[in-house]
């Protein structure tokens, strides 16, 4: 991905990239409006109608509570995925043999379409918050683990040798040698873990749950209610995008300010 710095452009003039980025949502709304005109409001409500539907939904009370529920699930699932993936990634990444043994398993499980395993989660956790949290965390855990592991393996042996000769203890080794080296890659991992946890939570809510925006979406899809579908999709996409922007901003900051390079290959 473009790694060169976006700073240092002409002074005074707003730079093309920033303006372009701000124009993308405008372009999306325009295309959306055109498609709505073409397909008709019964099939695809336009931006204005969707906004009205969201306002109506907030007043009628099917948005706020469910959104809060989905966000809570997402937050807990994301924290679990991030912490578990980070810890296991560090442990496996630092041990050559353990890494060699488990790499193939992590990559293999990651490649299975996780949705088909959903019944297993229902068996174990029953119908409720736990299933959604577990399924979301399961989605986010693997990218976190795989990227963390890979980043730590990229740390040059020379640094580890120096750390050893300086007699750093485990925590010091992590804090002063490994952490600065892998930090920006961890931010990339967190972003992907966030995205996939979010997807996992929505999938779990769609298939079987008692609450959340995914459940409302499932009803709307089953009853063919494009108004509600577009309202929920708009909210979900805004949340997904906002979350991604936070991590993306952090990644860019580290890259530009601290000259770190994130590798987004193979993602």
């Amino acid at each position: 991905m473009a790694t060169e710095s976006a700073t240092g452009r002409g002074v005074g003039l707003p730079d093309v990239v920033t303006v372009g980025r701000l124009l993308v949502p405008v372009a999306i709304v325009v295309v959306w409006q055109l498609m709505a005109l073409w397909l008709g409001p019964d099939l695809l409500p336009g931006p204005a109608a969707t906004l009205a539907m969201i306002r109506h939904g907030v007043e009628a009370g099917w948005i706020v509570g469910n959104l809060a529920n989905t966000m809570e699930t997402l937050a807990v699932g994301f924290v679990i995925a991030a912490v578990a993936g980070l810890v296991l990634g560090v442990v496996l990444g630092l041990r050559d043999t353990a890494f060699e043994v488990f790499e193939i398993y992590t990559l293999s499980v990651y490649s299975i379409p996780k949705i088909i395993l959903f019944p297993l989660f229902l068996f174990v956790f029953q119908l409720g918050m736990d299933t959604k949290i577990a399924f979301g965390a399961f989605h986010g855990f693997f990218p976190m683990l795989i990227i963390t592991m890979g980043a730590i393996r990229e740390v040059d042996d020379i640094y580890l040798d120096v750390a050893r000769s300086l007699r750093l203890n485990r925590w010091q080794l992590f804090r002063h040698v490994i952490f600065p080296f892998v930090l920006v890659q961890l931010v990339v991992a967190l972003r992907l873990a966030f995205s996939l946890t979010f997807l996992g939570v929505i999938l779990a809510e769609l298939f079987a749950s008692k609450s959340g925006l995914g459940l409302v979406l499932q009803h709307a899809m089953a009853n063919f209610d494009p108004g509600r579908i577009m309202a929920i999709v708009t909210i979900l996409m805004t949340v997904a995008f906002a979350g991604n922007i936070v991590f993306y901003g952090a990644q860019r900051y580290l890259e530009n300010r601290w000259n770190m390079t994130a590798s987004t290959e193979g993602l």
Partner: protein, 260 residues
């Protein structure tokens, strides 16, 4: 220097440990299901899963669903390659456009694309097109991003060689840039294929009336645990083998590009 012998035996040890772990897990599952420590409606034994799967394959009951799913995956993947590679190339040529779109591209994976299914049904009718389109949208971005990445990785010096040989732009592209970027593009194709599989199966699981993904949901709803696990096993085996095969080819390509 480490001797080749000890290196080989190390690799063998790793392989044996991997097999041992797998065997331990399978045996444990067999044990807890055989001894009735878990309910047979919740979990069936590995031997029962394999047995049922063999029956499903032999009797041909699974075949239409398999063909259905495989066709959708391949059509979605081919569409994603056909559009993703040129668009990725375009983004590499137009760096400003690439930088404008970058934050939007990275957010793509979190998008609940399958939510558009009802509208797609409204447009295309009850055909396979909606599922193929959803899988396409899930697969194409990885190809776009990795293609753009791949061309960016080609060192400037290669382009200089092309100029010094007086190659035309088209020749430079086909003989220098494209081969040099191939491993990275392949990474995109690998991910695109895997995401296409995920897209098709997820759509089938939630909203279809045929296909392997639908089978899992169907057997689940009808408490046919044996059949459900058999189909799950089949999907997992296919996904894992495809992934391992693609990883192998990918490793070869990167190796060749380093040594060549």
């Amino acid at each position: 220097m480490e001797s080749l012998d000890s290196l080989l035996s190390h690799r063998r040890k790793v392989r044996l440990t991997q097999l041992g772990l797998l065997a331990a897990v399978v045996l444990y599952l067999e044990y807890i299901t055989r001894t009735g420590q878990v309910n047979y409606i919740t979990l069936t034994s590995p031997t029962a899963m394999v047995g049922t799967l063999v029956d499903l394959v032999r009797s041909g009951t699974i075949e239409p669903d398999f063909v259905q799913t495989a066709t959708s995956v391949f059509v979605a993947f081919l569409l994603a390659v056909g559009t993703g590679v040129p668009v990725g190339w375009l983004l590499w040529r137009r760096q400003t456009l690439y930088r404008i779109l970058d934050p939007y591209l990275v957010a793509w994976y979190a998008m609940p694309i399958f939510a558009f299914y009802p509208m797609l049904i409204g447009i295309f009718g009850l055909t396979k097109t909606p599922i193929i389109l959803i899988a396409y949208m899930m697969g194409v971005i990885a190809i776009v991003v990795n293609t753009a990445n791949g061309f960016e990785k080609v060192r400037d010096v290669y382009g200089d060689v092309g100029r010094s040989l007086n190659l035309s732009r088209v020749q430079t592209f086909w003989h220098i840039y494209f081969p040099a970027a191939t491993p990275y593009i392949f990474t995109g194709l690998k991910l695109g294929f895997i995401y296409s599989i995920v897209g098709v199966l997820a759509s089938e699981f939630i909203l279809s009336d045929s296909g392997l993904g639908f089978r899992v949901a169907y057997h689940y709803r009808n408490f046919q645990t044996n059949e459900m696990y058999a189909v799950m096993l089949l999907i997992a085996l296919i996904a894992i083998s495809v992934n391992l095969l693609l990883l192998h080819v990918e490793g070869r390509l990167y190796q060749r590009s380093v040594s060549g």
